[in-house]
């Protein structure tokens, strides 16, 4: 990941470059993972109740608010999925890739990356201890999930830093 870089590409676009094959694989897995946002066990994390004591308020929330949040999350995922079609070879680094996307998609990217990390976390019941694990066997689905959560977290970190300076 030593070449990984996010920088402006003109006034209106951002370029994420230096994507090695591992990061590329994580990015290309996004649409399939995001498609699992409605899986049982995931919904309660992405669409939690607003109270712990008011069943009626929680029902109202799930009826009125959750569809809106679902639309918001899906829209962010679709934006990033469309952006991913522009993945191309990075001319500056052999066997690396880059992507440019509209700067005003930055929030959608942060949302989609974070959704993906949370979905993986729920699908594989990832704990704090799992997240502190550093010895990965990528043939094991749970280890692969934690590894992807970390890689996508690294990308998210870049976006957050950029958002803080934009």
């Amino acid at each position: 990941m030593k070449h990984l870089c996010l920088q402006p590409d003109g006034d209106q676009r951002l370029r994420l470059s230096g994507l090695d094959p591992v990061i590329l694989d994580c990015l290309q897995s996004l649409p399939d993972i995001l498609a699992q946002r409605d899986a049982s066990g995931v919904r309660h994390r992405l669409f939690p109740n607003p109270t712990t004591t008011e069943p009626e308020s929680n029902r109202d929330w799930q009826r009125l608010i959750t569809p809106e949040l679902h639309h918001l999350f899906a829209a962010a995922g679709e934006t990033v999925t469309l952006d991913l079609a522009a993945l191309a070879a990075d001319p500056e680094h052999n066997n690396h890739f880059q992507i440019t996307f509209a700067a005003d998609h930055l929030n959608a990217w942060m949302s989609a990356l974070n959704q993906t990390r949370l979905i993986l976390g729920e699908l594989f019941s990832i704990t704090e201890a799992d997240m502190n694990h550093t010895d990965f066997n990528l043939d094991q689905p749970k280890d692969l999930a934690v590894f992807r959560i970390h890689i996508l977290g690294y990308l998210l970190q870049l976006l957050i830093e950029h958002a803080g300076t934009a």
């Binding site: 994390r45 607003p50 109270t51 712990t52 974070n114 949370l118 998210l156 957050i160």
Partner: protein, 95 residues
Amino acid sequence: MPQTGPVLINDTKSKEESDIPWNVIVLNDPINLMNYVTMVFQRLFGYPRDKAEHLMLEVHQKGRSLVWSGGREQAEHYVHQLHSYQLLSHLEKAE
């Protein structure tokens, strides 16, 4: 990210009940990045970085943090926005 305004639930609550302060609580989770949580607190509440970091660390170390207190409608709005950023949060009556 979130662009929507406040949405009232249970808007038939009595005046007396609506005067009770409500706390917005954010809960820890193993996935969200610490600086992501800090960024959300800054964006959403307009908190300076040091206050946002203090609250984030409280979430991380104690498992929860009271990040805002006030009227029910505004508390619901903040919980809505926190959920749109995928932070675990809820509102509860102040004791």
